[in-house]
Symmetry: C2
């Protein structure tokens, strides 16, 4: 028993050490087809753990059908629906393709993705470019001419312009440095990304100007970033995937390497348990509904953006963002409370991500499934609320990862490692 | 007595109300000669209260002489020194010309200044454009070919490019909104200006791209902003002057409308006492010395940047910047402490400048000289430390405005208003 415990503790130190040592850098933008492993023309990726078509929530179904039309796989979303049901269009989780997707997370063949490399370990993570500052978005389950035009603009204008800026700055942007800086500027890096976005704009603007990109397009892209408070989240998410994947697959490690939600179920993955998902029901998100929406409009917990919490950001770093706590509950101290609470279920503090108000104490990092079970403290996810009908973001709040997922994971962990341990 | 007290309280409400109601907007960049009232070709402005040439501190003398050479008034700084002593070159405080200057504050005839208009009250405040991110600067008492080239670049490249961006955005930038935002992003807006600078960059970049300014120059200016963490301070200072001047000249008001330092003396002005200065010795600045400097290298308190504290920013808003407190003392809580302490000597909380960690409670605003005398609490100034030899910024720390200045002011206040009061 002690032997097994020591082995697990050592494996966990290795897993969390890899998270902390990770250095994610933005190195490219590519069409998903050219870089996302296993992607096929008729495969459409979505957020969260795997789910069957008939159980999928409405916004995510709408987004899958929209992407099918966008990719020319179907003429109408109604036709797309039938094709998915018939298996002619396939669906699968982003997370199983080194990719993460915001909210519905729908990512398809031709869409451009940020390529983020973990310089320390060599692996890559991917995430779509932020779609649009408006309310109507594919990522929130809408599809229309307007949505299609915006997606095309990102593909044909924003992507090449951003890439020109990146190349001009030497082909590499240090995302860890920007995230660390943003934590000193009121972002917790999941629901508040204003500081990282402003820092990104300031960093890339001189290089865009020095590049040979079209000047009108440069102006439009800089305006787009300025209007998109959440622009940088998609880089943080791709970075998060590259960090978490580096900590995955370590024998005996009970550290969580993915937490993802599809609006129906939340799934987690554990480093020592490979690619297996352990799921429980997606919870209701408690928080503030935006004007025009009521609590009943909120889709249950949705999106791969909890990759931030998986790596000690988001709700785990909430102490860095009193502003966001104020928006949600009116009490700045709630941010501090979440960060303190998460120390009970994590194994380290990330010295690269210090929180100024806590005298630069690091963000609680590396969720140990044993600690979740023992303490009964469930990971908090600090997240946007999607409207159930696909009308866009309906609010912002906090959700908890269900205990059921951790119980299933611990059972599988005990089964797998009891044979090899001295138990 | 009660009658006089009521009259004073009412006047103070009016003065502080004007500070709070002020809406500073950046509207132009002009050569100082075209906008600063009373400026003459042979008049060189400096920070702080008036001071005779023989008593002026070395960095400020050097800066005045440098400006004289820059303006072609003298061939060498040695010649300039003699000309000032002989009265052929005149000197005077920025503050007496609707202008404020950082550190030495030296401002002369041809130098471009930010023009900031107080939209609520119609008055204007001016401040030089941030000079250079390097260490060697006129504002810190250096003059060389390098300093001259940088000043020329600001005049010939940065100023017209920034102005092109401003015009493209409609000729007006709301500085109050950027300052308010920066307070939610870790700036206290005197010694830390990273968030306001990043926000400024993000705001102006799309307009620069859409303007017809030269593209290479645009790249250089955006790079300059990116490298200049304190860039926005000079806009905050011009805004501060426009705010404080709107609160000046109110009969019976005991509210401080200027606190300025020339390295030898600190001077304050009081709303009900017109343009008169009340001075005391400039204090030592306690804090962190940068690598290569010792405490002995630090010039005593210097610069007009305490216009920020005069309006409830800087040390008064220090609770907004745990990061800066960490740099200076290693304790984030020191930031909170300064803000709490300053409530004892101020008369209002500015609802436009909320501090997130304090549940958006407003910054303590409007220093009442009576409260300073009664409480014995001296205003804190959160400031850079200049090297005595003009080698640049030597550190960052906190200084106090001397009690002597307040005692003199209260004496003058009592003399002036005892006749009119029922005392």
């Amino acid at each position: 028993m002690t032997d097994a415990k020591q082995r697990i503790d050592a494996a966990n130190r290795e897993a969390v050490g890899r998270m902390i040592d990770s250095l994610p850098v933005w190195v490219d933008i590519k069409a998903a087809k050219d870089v996302v492993p296993g992607l096929k023309p008729n495969l459409i990726l979505h957020s969260g753990p795997p789910i069957s078509w008939d159980r999928m929530c409405l916004p995510q179904r709408n987004a899958v059908c929209g992407a099918a039309v966008y990719e020319g796989l179907a003429k109408t979303t109604a036709e797309a629906d039938k094709m998915v049901a018939a298996g002619d269009i396939e669906i699968g989780p982003c997370h199983e393709h080194r990719t993460v997707g915001s909210m519905c997370g729908v990512t398809s063949y031709t869409m451009p993705v940020f390529v983020v490399r973990n310089k320390t370990f060599g692996n890559e993570g991917y995430c779509l470019i932020y779609e649009n500052p408006g309310r109507e978005k594919l990522s929130f389950g809408a599809y229309s001419d307007n949505v299609r035009r915006n997606l095309k603009w990102v593909e044909e204008v924003a992507a090449p312009v951003l890439l020109a800026g990146l190349k001009q700055m030497g082909g590499e942007m240090n995302l860890r440095a920007i995230i660390a800086r943003a934590l000193t500027m009121g972002d917790e890096c999941h629901s508040r990304n204003y500081a990282s976005t402003a820092t990104f704009a300031m960093e890339i603007a001189p290089h865009l100007a020095a590049s040979s990109c079209d000047r009108k397009e440069m102006a439009a892209v800089l305006q787009f970033i300025k209007q998109s408070d959440q622009f940088f989240l998609h880089l943080t998410m791709a970075a998060g995937k590259a960090i978490a994947d580096a900590a995955a697959g370590i024998e005996y490690s009970s550290i969580v390497t993915a937490m993802a939600r599809n609006g129906v179920e939340v799934g987690i993955r554990v480093s020592g348990l490979g690619d297996q998902w352990f799921t429980g029901p997606a919870g209701r998100i408690e928080g503030l509904m935006f004007s025009g929406f009521t609590a009943e409009d909120g889709q249950n917990d949705l999106g791969d953006s909890a990759i931030t919490e998986t790596n000690g950001l988001g709700a785990f770093a909430h102490a860095a963002s009193p502003s966001l706590a104020l928006v949600k509950s009116g009490h700045a101290a709630d941010g501090l409370r979440f960060t303190e609470e998460m120390r009970a279920i994590t194994t380290a503090e990330n010295p690269n991500f210090g929180i100024p108000a806590l005298d630069s104490r690091g963000t609680p990092t590396g969720i140990d499934i044993r600690k979740v079970i023992e303490s009964g403290v469930l990971p908090v996810i600090d997240t946007g609320i999607a409207d159930k009908q696909g009308r866009g973001q309906a609010g912002v709040g906090n959700a908890r990862v269900p205990m059921e997922a951790f119980k299933k994971a611990l059972r599988a962990f005990a089964e797998r490692y009891s044979a090899g341990g001295s138990r």
